[in-house]
Symmetry: C2
Subunit: 375 residues, 2 copies
């Protein structure tokens, strides 16, 4: 039996659901551990074409003692749609999966979101396990029970809150990511660093400064030895926020820092130009600029956020080709809108963010204009 | 302001949701009452072509002080599908409905199920109010938070548990139902009468015996004066069961009496031959026959159930044209299956039902064969 090393176990404690997040190395190869969370006789694995070639054969060996079916989706945010969802439903029904089956999301945020939504709606809800394989999914998307598919007019417009039975985070799998996909996940890490400030912000800064010029993910992991600790701290923050506010009626909305503009940019380009994390990176810079105009965020911290994104080699500027009016119209599908008013997560200082429903069109326009490339 | 008469108010008390069921006359015309439950500035009404002509103009007048949009679906179980669901999503997105909007289901079980599912998944969940207009929806479908759409291979395969903010039952609207649609609802009433037995069974028998030969719903309501009381008692039973077991891990499954065969018959005929209640009526008779074979239900009670269905002028036999093997295969999508085993709700006696996972293929075959027309 393959050995694994556990880095951290975090429990997400909710009113009627509690579940563990296991973070470690070699988890995906450990049959005993996987089977501890997999009690059903039927399993459907949802993954994508890229990951299937890496992990599927060995992972299916672990599950060879039960009915194990697979749906392999094309890789990319543009496939997080109703066609992919139907592909999962068709597989579940045609292979006669019953209400006591388990869906496993083996993949990044796209796979996790769509498999989670399928699990929450097939026969009114079946078991679900998250095995996130991208950095973005490990630090953010796999924790907290948000599931969704996109609509051509807006990101994550159709979805549910539906908690997994477990989140199994194997840090080993990060090595198979392209550097671009890995770096996209750093945008969410930077988001957490801004949200809580202090030691996490310092450690993230140190990690990014040391790894700016690496050429591969393996090199990143060699140069910086604290990524696994940072992943665990991000999960811990997310777990605590979700425990306070599972359905985002309050504090959970702060985790959307950078996402209002980020989601609009994704919809504007039909989910094809940027990875989600890259769009969030631009969104974080816009949030910093808007915070400067709206609530006096100091220029030093605006610059620091810009610098962190630069060190992570993430995009930070809106391309000149983007029509800013069209972008603002796309923000009308933002899920934080209340009483017809758009609310932004703004930054007063490090570790001090809040939801602001008083941002004027003029200030938003000014912030977006300052974020355009070459401005 | 139009007056209304309240017959009963029942509270459904759940761990993190509580909501009222109001049963009365004239509710739909009472602006103050409707607006008590409708606090949002945006409303989307989901209804069908038949009901729209009866109720929509006056109902929309009540809501004229806010953004009020409408989706009118074709009438019929065969439209409880993903195309209708998408029609609702499209309306919500194109009219810029935000997370604080309210969906109102103004219709029977089909409208309620599909609007409820749309409400549970649009932006991960928005407010939802049930205004059931059919007898079936008033006594059963509108209470308890089951939402769903059908899949060509199985009834209610895609859905969620999602509770409304209120259920407003106006008994006046029953008068506009066709007698056939009204009688279909009596199947669920008979189901409750078998499940609890005693006084309810007596009162239902009396009501049905007195109304067998009526020609219109209005005549039914004139001849029998206790329907509103019976509706209230059915809602009360459902509320109590749902409070004990919201997500159907135990006792709630008993409410599926007659539905395993009923759902298979609906899927077999692509939801076009019988109304849901009519298929359940045949299913109830099959459940009685199977209970006789499997757990010794006395022939007297089998006959009594047959008689009740006859008095309600409901179908009770499987047509000879139905392929019983194909019907049994369709039961493989039943949501009560556990460890690959079909479980049936069986009847030991009046007020004494249970879930049985030990029914053999042979006994099921025998019961279905005895239920065929002319046997």
């Amino acid at each position: 039996m393959a050995k694994y090393k556990l880095v951290r176990e975090i429990d997400v404690r909710l009113a009627d659901n509690s579940y563990p997040i296991l973070i470690g190395q070699g988890i995906l190869q450990n049959k005993e551990l996987i089977c501890r969370f997999l009690v059903s006789k039927q399993v459907l694995i949802v993954t994508n074409t890229t990951l299937a070639s890496f992990y599927l054969p060995s992972f299916m060996t672990i599950l060879s003692d039960r009915q194990c079916d697979v749906v392999i989706l094309p890789d990319g945010e543009e496939y997080k749609n109703s066609a992919s969802l139907n592909q999962i439903y068709e597989a579940l029904i045609s292979k006669a999966h019953h209400r006591d089956t388990t869906l496993i999301a083996l993949g990044g945020g796209v796979v996790g979101d769509i498999a989670g939504f399928a699990a929450s709606t097939y026969q009114r809800g079946v078991n679900f396990i998250q095995i996130p394989t991208s950095l973005l999914a490990q630090v953010d998307a796999s924790v907290g029970g948000k599931t969704a598919i996109n609509h051509p007019l807006g990101k994550n417009m159709i979805g549910s809150f539906y908690q997994p039975k477990a989140v199994l985070i194997d840090l080993e799998v990060l090595k198979t990511l392209s550097l671009r996909h890995f770096r996209a996940g750093l945008a969410e890490v930077i988001k957490y660093a801004i949200l809580v400030g202090g030691a996490l912000l310092d450690d993230v800064r140190t990690m990014l400064a040391a790894t700016t010029d690496v050429k591969t993910v393996s090199e990143f992991l060699e140069v910086s030895d604290n990524l696994s600790d940072i992943v665990a701290r991000c999960c811990q923050i997310k777990a605590e926020v979700v425990q306070q506010d599972e359905r985002e009626s309050g504090v959970r909305a702060l985790l959307n820092l950078g996402h209002t503009v980020g989601h609009a940019l994704e919809a504007y380009t039909h989910y094809s130009q940027w990875l989600h994390g890259e769009a969030v990176a631009i969104g974080l810079y816009c949030a910093a600029l808007l915070s400067h105009l709206q609530c006096g965020l100091k220029q030093d911290l605006v610059n620091e956020i810009d610098e962190l994104l630069f060190l992570a080699r993430l995009p930070r500027r809106i391309p000149v080709s983007v029509d800013l009016n069209a972008l603002r119209i796309l923000m009308n599908t933002d899920k934080k809108i209340k009483n017809n008013t758009l609310r932004f997560v703004l930054i007063r200082g490090e570790g001090d963010c809040f939801l602001d429903g008083q941002v004027t069109e003029t200030k938003l326009e000014a912030a977006l204009e300052s974020a355009v490339e070459g401005e």
